[in-house]
């Protein structure tokens, strides 16, 4: 069941937070040895908080739809008194002295934290294979990656180890694992959710946001993560599909796709059209330059953050991440500045693509979850590097800062999930979620 379905039952006392939390902890105990989704499980703290929530609710105190709901945090987000490893042995002795801002807001909303989830080391990768705590595995096929970097978070929600989770997204690290594991991932507009208390990869591209079992649940989590003044009481109504104006980002975002992904995404667009949506083509003229712009920015920022520990503790990094961070240290300032100019141009082009439409639509992930260890994958147009393919559809909107959401739109013949991405206007995340609720409903009933 989803948070939206369970919240009224918890509020009414027909299901206790303690029972929900016990169920999640039992699922973790059962599945985590195989899937490696959690680095730290906070069972005692969670049960104590759940019992407290039950008492509060019984006493008439209601904090909202997350009151008593068990959730998890990607292990680069501070939870007071617990380690924040960022998936790296470099930080194995770290203990957070206070909550991250987003943790505090969720705590104040009554959420119960069941643990900290595995990730690609320092969020610097898309597969969650390179973690100091071992690779995480896709629940749909454990020989495959769950995506990343918030891979453990996506597994947790997909399997019921937690009912929602918080991830971060610098090039797609919420939307990619959401697509690979068959759940919903919302990357808010840049700057909407505080990143204080979150280990950075690139402050100018990092976004904090929810992964959840449904669009409504993603909204509930996102709403609680916002500053108090920005929160709203009611769940948004779904937009009407009839008349919904959709811009399909043709070209770059469709020209390196797995055949099943392309079939499913194009089929969903046709389905929306058949239900009355207006579909037009949109373009991003500098799409071909996005990967190189992204790379120079992330490398420059990551090199600055990691310089000291690369010198003092190089062997505590996983070999692949260490190699890429060392490479990052060679980016020249002049090229970093060129990339900053490119970022501004790309943001402007996404605004232009959104003119006259409600949302842009494209795949969330070019390929289904890749096998663990795969370096390349075949797609239309040839064979490409896994990392490049996994970032291809998501990183444009980290550069531009627009809100974007990934939601399931089908499966491959072997049962691997496929994700559709909707991109909204800045300042209108509410409208993006309304459109996503509508699309989710159409897909569910098809």
């Amino acid at each position: 069941m989803t948070i939206a379905e369970l919240a009224p039952k918890v509020a009414a006392g027909t299901i206790t937070s303690e029972k929900l939390t016990e169920n999640c902890l039992a699922t973790i105990a059962d599945l985590n040895p195989r899937l490696n989704a959690f680095i730290t499980v906070t069972a005692d703290l969670a049960l104590a908080r759940a019992r407290q929530a039950d008492k509060e609710i019984a006493g008439g105190r209601r904090l909202g739809p997350l009151h008593g709901i068990p959730i998890s945090l990607k292990d680069l987000i501070d939870l007071e008194g617990m380690p924040t490893t960022a998936g790296s042995l470099v930080r194995k002795d770290h203990v957070a002295t206070t909550d991250a801002v987003v943790t505090r807001r969720l705590r104040e909303a009554g959420a119960v934290f069941v643990g900290k989830t595995n990730l690609h080391e320092f969020a610097f990768g898309t597969t969650t294979e390179d973690s100091g705590f071992g690779p995480a595995r896709n629940p749909h096929d454990p020989s495959r990656s769950p995506g990343g970097s918030s891979g453990g978070s996506a597994i947790a929600v997909a399997t019921g180890m937690s009912l929602g989770t918080v991830g971060t997204d610098t090039g797609g690290s919420i939307r990619i694992p959401a697509a690979a594991c068959g759940i919903v991932g919302l990357k808010p507009e840049w700057g909407r959710i505080s990143a204080t208390g979150v280990v950075p990869l690139s402050r100018q591209l990092d976004h904090v946001g929810p992964l959840a079992a449904s669009v409504a649940d993603a909204w509930i989590l996102y709403n609680a993560m916002q500053p108090a003044a920005a929160r709203v009481r009611e769940l948004p109504d779904a937009a009407a599909v009839k008349g919904l104006r959709i811009g399909v980002l043709a070209g770059y975002l469709f020209d390196r796709l797995d055949a099943d992904v392309e079939r499913s995404v194009r089929g969903t667009i046709e389905l929306l059209k058949s239900k009355g949506a207006t579909v037009t083509e949109a373009a991003l003229p500098h799409a071909d330059d996005m990967a190189t712009v992204y790379l120079h920015l992330v490398f420059g920022d990551a090199a600055e953050y990691h310089a000291r520990t690369l010198e003092s503790r190089p062997h505590d990094y996983t070999p692949n991440v260490r190699l890429r961070l060392e490479m990052a240290r060679y980016v020249l300032a002049e090229d970093y500045i060129r990339a900053m100019r490119g970022k501004t141009i790309i943001a402007h082009e996404v605004d232009r693509a959104l003119e006259g439409v409600d949302v842009l639509v494209c795949p969330a992930l070019s390929i289904p979850a890749p096998p663990i260890g795969a370096v390349t994958m075949p797609v239309k147009g040839g064979v490409e590097a896994v990392r490049t393919l996994m970032l291809r559809c998501t990183q444009p909107f980290n550069l531009s800062g627009h809100p974007a959401i990934s939601l399931p739109c089908g499966n491959t013949p072997t049962g691997l999930p496929i994700g559709l991405q909707l991109v909204g206007h800045k300042g209108r995340t509410h409208a993006l979620v309304q459109a996503a609720l509508a699309v989710e409903a159409v897909i569910s009933y098809s």
Binding site: H286, R341, G342, H348
Partner: protein, 60 residues
């Protein structure tokens, strides 16, 4: 510094630091940097990247 000059220096530095595995990935970075430097926005560095080419009312 041209990309070729940068790459030669970076290779030499990686070898000096005892990181030979870096050399092939630096070659990949060099290709990306070449593409970045070829982007058309570098041809008009005086232009505000947010300017879409239209003249704003205040400037007329």
């Amino acid at each position: 510094m041209t990309v070729a000059e940068w790459l030669a220096l970076a290779r030499a530095n990686a070898e000096k630091r005892g990181l030979p595995d870096l050399i092939p990935v630096l070659e990949g970075l060099a290709k990306a940097t070449t593409q970045l430097r070829a982007a058309d926005w570098n041809d008009d560095a005086e232009r505000d990247p947010k300017d879409d080419g239209e003249v704003a009312d205040d400037d007329r």
